[in-house]
């Protein structure tokens, strides 16, 4: 499989994508069944071609084909096999190809799972996906060709940044991209609906699973990225409020709003125009965020090769996709009919409040991220917007969101009264009060206390919600079990995802109380942090495959009993004249002990070592909570009502499901 074959496959995919963009659209307009019916075939063909192209690049990486400039710049003979493969998407060109392939997978998935969709809708959705894919494949072929050759081919590559040689980072991009790209499907549904001029409950039902799936991937992707920065970068923190991180948080926030407003469309046929706008907005944020970072406009710690010429192409593509869809929205949305009515206090009302708060958060993060370049452009002034701003501006908006999350799912649809719902929550109120007392005692600062309290509130209400639905303790246990079995999985999924948010927020609140010390010690010296005694017992040099490591041995004792022995190390890489620190983390689920070794000082006879020791309470909960959220999403997806085009259940089941 030569690189030329890869480029040919990519061109072929592009041709398929263009055909997929044009033919089914014409078919749907003319009601031509044959033209509409070729869309799924083209989508699958496009995926096969893209996969072949991708495999060619992977093959070039595995076989050390340094005549391919992309491999030359990012790989080396000495690189372990796993990272040769994952390194394919660790650079600009490869990551665009991966992006295109995931878009291809989305198209093929719609083709495969969308058999029960109305044929015109399916044709239009696939056409939109094809159009977006064609844009990326053209971008890949013209300005970011991963198969570019160099001649003569050097004997060895330039190697990869050692920071990237990590399993966490290897799988972070594919998962994150699946999240970003996954929102292309709701986007395509929104565009198709605008073309058709119809949004109804069925549309909401079809869109929701795709939004949930993309959201679950994005959640995992963000959590994985944050976890990676926690355990690889060794600075003890987990979130920079860096533009690249914000670029993933913005679509996550609007995507979360979309997932919830789609429920209102499905159940009540309300918020239709708003949901369409959210679907367009979420994908637009996914696109523009990732690509603005690559253009170099945003000041980021994650610097991709920054090339303004490439930026112009990207901007044109963004203009076409986002501008085009918003023109369509401005033209067609006014003719969409408004839908079901509901009182402000109702399930719909709570979901509207959820949307307002999530979108406000989204607006704050977006404004904070984009303010510096705009200030610089408009007023010639340079400012920085960093962690202190984001912490101060987002947490006060997040707390009311947690409050609404608690009782929102318990309100009935259409019209509700708060009091009867509140009355059922007396146990939760007691638990929350207890949590408030504990946080007052254990945490310092107003915001951490409030966050922790509301996190417990969210977890407790989610549990109560499920308990109420299955009438736990109100009816015999066997009867409750029976109810639990017939309760739709999406209800469990939602409760689980909400509880996951609570777990994450508890972790965040506790992490505000993290302690750390930087000490310079001799071998055998003991330092105390957070009630633990940390003793540096040994430091030795160990050779690695393409680096030399200085490995420390630190014994940690608590009240004289040994808790763990950790081996943080510092690696000096031969190829790129770079060093990385390998953090050592000991976790017991409730807290992390986190050790980093730094420079060596002193004389050869009596060396001293700089150690950075962290005590991070509830740190694992931040990512564990994200995992619970994603599992909640997956559980919802497994609900047969969520499956696209699945026939409605028998009326009886619907009554049970009708909350």
């Amino acid at each position: 499989m030569s690189p030329e074959l890869g480029r040919f496959a990519l061109s072929l995919a592009c041709v398929f994508a263009l055909a997929q963009a044009i033919l089914p659209l014409i078919g749907a307009q003319r009601r031509d069944r044959r033209l509409m019916a070729i869309a799924p075939g083209l989508a699958v063909g496009q995926l096969v071609a893209l996969a072949a192209s991708f495999l060619c690049l992977v093959n070039a990486a595995i076989t050390n084909d340094f005549s391919v400039s992309n491999i030359l710049e990012n790989s080396a003979v000495a690189k372990p096999l796993l990272y040769k493969i994952t390194g394919v998407w660790g650079n600009h060109e490869g990551s665009i190809l991966l992006w295109a392939m995931i878009l291809g997978i989305c198209g093929a998935a719609v083709a495969a799972f969308g058999r029960n969709l109305p044929s015109a809708l399916r044709a239009r959705v696939l056409a939109v996906l094809g159009g977006v894919a064609a844009g990326f494949e053209l971008f890949c072929l013209t300005t970011s060709d991963p198969f570019d050759r160099v001649w003569p081919a050097p004997l060895d590559g330039q190697g990869m940044n050692p920071l990237l040689q990590d399993p966490g980072l290897a799988f972070h991009p594919p998962i994150l991209y699946t999240g970003y790209v996954g929102f292309a499907v709701p986007f395509a549904f929104a565009i198709a609906a605008l073309i058709e001029g119809r949004v109804d409950a069925a549309w909401g039902r079809w869109v929701r699973p795709w939004a949930v799936a993309a959201w679950a991937f994005l959640t995992c992707g963000i959590a994985l990225g944050s976890w990676w920065s926690y355990y690889v970068l060794g600075w003890g923190g987990y979130w920079f409020w860096d533009p690249v991180e914000n670029a993933s948080l913005i679509p996550w926030l609007s995507g979360t709003a979309l997932m919830h407003s789609a429920i209102v469309v499905e159940k009540r046929e309300a918020l239709k125009i708003w949901t369409v706008l959210l679907a367009i907005g979420t994908f637009s944020f996914s696109l523009s965020g990732t690509f603005l970072v690559r253009s170099g406009i945003l000041n980021s710690v994650h610097a991709f090769a920054q090339d303004p010429a490439r930026g112009i192409f990207i901007l044109g593509l963004l203009g076409l996709v986002i501008g085009g869809s918003l023109v369509l929205f401005a033209w067609r949305a006014p003719s969409l009919t408004a839908g079901g009515l509901f009182a402000p206090v109702s399930r719909e009302g709570a979901l509207v409040l959820n949307n307002i708060l999530l979108c406000s958060l989204c607006a704050v993060v977006l404004t904070g991220t984009m303010y510096p370049p705009f200030m610089s452009l408009l007023f010639g002034k340079t400012i920085s917007v960093g962690k202190p701003f984001f912490d101060a501006a987002t947490i006060p908006l997040a707390i009311p969101l947690f409050a609404v999350m608690g009782f929102g799912p318990m309100l009935p649809w259409k019209r509700a009264q708060l009091w009867p719902v509140m009355r059922r929550l007396w146990v939760v109120a007691l638990v929350t009060l207890a949590a408030f007392a504990v946080s007052l005692w254990g945490l310092s600062g107003v915001l951490p206390v409030l966050c922790a309290t509301f996190a417990v509130w969210v977890i407790a209400t989610s549990a109560t919600d499920v308990a109420n639905r299955i009438a736990l303790f109100r009816e015999p246990f066997s009867r409750s079990l029976q109810r639990a079995r017939s309760l739709p999985r999406s209800a469990f999924g939602a409760a689980l995802a909400h509880a996951g948010v609570g777990v994450t927020v508890l972790g965040l609140a506790a992490m505000s109380q993290a302690q750390h010390r930087v000490v310079e010690v001799h071998i055998g010296q003991t330092e105390r942090l957070a009630g633990y005694d940390w003793t540096l017992t040994n430091v030795q040099t160990e050779p690695g495959p393409n680096y030399v490591a200085m490995v420390a041995t630190i014994e940690i004792r608590h009240n004289g009993h040994i808790v763990t022995v950790m081996h943080p190390s510092k690696r000096s890489f031969n190829s790129q004249n770079q060093t990385t620190t390998e953090v050592s983390i000991h976790t017991n689920g409730l807290s992390d002990l986190y050790g980093v070794i730094g420079d060596r000082h002193g004389t050869d006879a009596d060396p001293t070592y700089v150690l950075r020791l962290h005590y991070n309470p509830l740190a694992p909960w931040m990512w564990f909570g994200a995992l619970i959220m994603a599992i909640g999403g997956a559980l919802s997806l497994s609900d047969r009502r969520m499956r696209i085009g699945a026939p409605r259940r028998a009326p009886l089941a619907d009554v049970v499901a009708a909350e």
């Binding site: 990012n74 660790g90 600009h92 940044n161 920071l163 990237l164 991009p173 920065s229 970068l233 060794g234 600075w235 923190g237 860096d242 170099g296 000041n299 710690v301 994650h302 610097a303 991709f304 090769a305 920054q306 408004a338 009515l341 009182a343 402000p344 509207v352 409040l353 949307n355 307002i356 406000s360 607006a363 704050v364 404004t367 904070g368 303010y371 200030m375 007023f379 002034k381 340079t382 400012i383 920085s384 917007v385 960093g386 962690k387 202190p388 701003f389 101060a392 501006a393 908006l397 930087v518 310079e520 770079q578 620190t581 980093v596 070794i597 730094g598 420079d599 000082h601 700089v610 950075r612």
Partner: protein, 158 residues
């Protein structure tokens, strides 16, 4: 030499990283010798430092960075704190030299009003829009003549 303008200064060590997608994070495992002996003063210095941006890094505070300028600025902060200056005095000293760019949390001015006002603005806009929609839309819309006719037709059909 236009790239030199953009990737100017300290560019050489970063260039390698800039070609990949990796964060340009320099780690601050620092010299404990630079910390102040008084833990209260040290804590205050850390609090000030975490509000100041490492100028040559991206979005990192000088406390988090091990870039050499960040190290120097950390030292300056500690000298000023040890001399008994207030937090505001130290930050002002930095802003006088490097402008507001050095503050990770920009001051509230006319130009940053939109930034700082965004949380309230977004929330109020959202709530107002929802309020207007609820007010404009009566709980039960009266039937139009056409609908009434259709309803009659349906009931008669039964």
């Amino acid at each position: 030499m236009k790239t030199a303008l953009r990737l100017r200064r300290f560019a050489a060590p970063f260039l390698v990283v800039a070609l990949t997608g990796a964060p340009l994070v320099a780690l601050a495992v620092d010299d404990p010798a630079e910390m102040l002996p008084d833990p209260k003063q040290e804590a205050r210095a850390e609090a000030i430092g975490s509000q100041l941006r490492c100028l040559v890094c991206q979005n990192e505070s000088i406390e988090d960075s091990s870039a050499s300028l960040a190290k120097d600025l950390r030292k300056v902060v500690r000298e000023h704190v040890a001399a008994g200056e207030s937090n505001k005095q130290v930050v002002d000293w930095m802003v006088a030299r490097y402008g507001n760019f050095i503050r990770l949390s920009p001051p509230v001015t006319v130009a940053t009003l939109l930034l700082w006002g965004m949380p309230v603005l977004a929330l109020v806009t959202g709530l107002l829009a929802a309020f207007l929609v609820f007010r404009r839309r009566p709980q039960v819309a009266p039937l139009s003549d056409a609908e009434r006719a259709r309803l009659d037709e349906l009931t008669r059909g039964r």
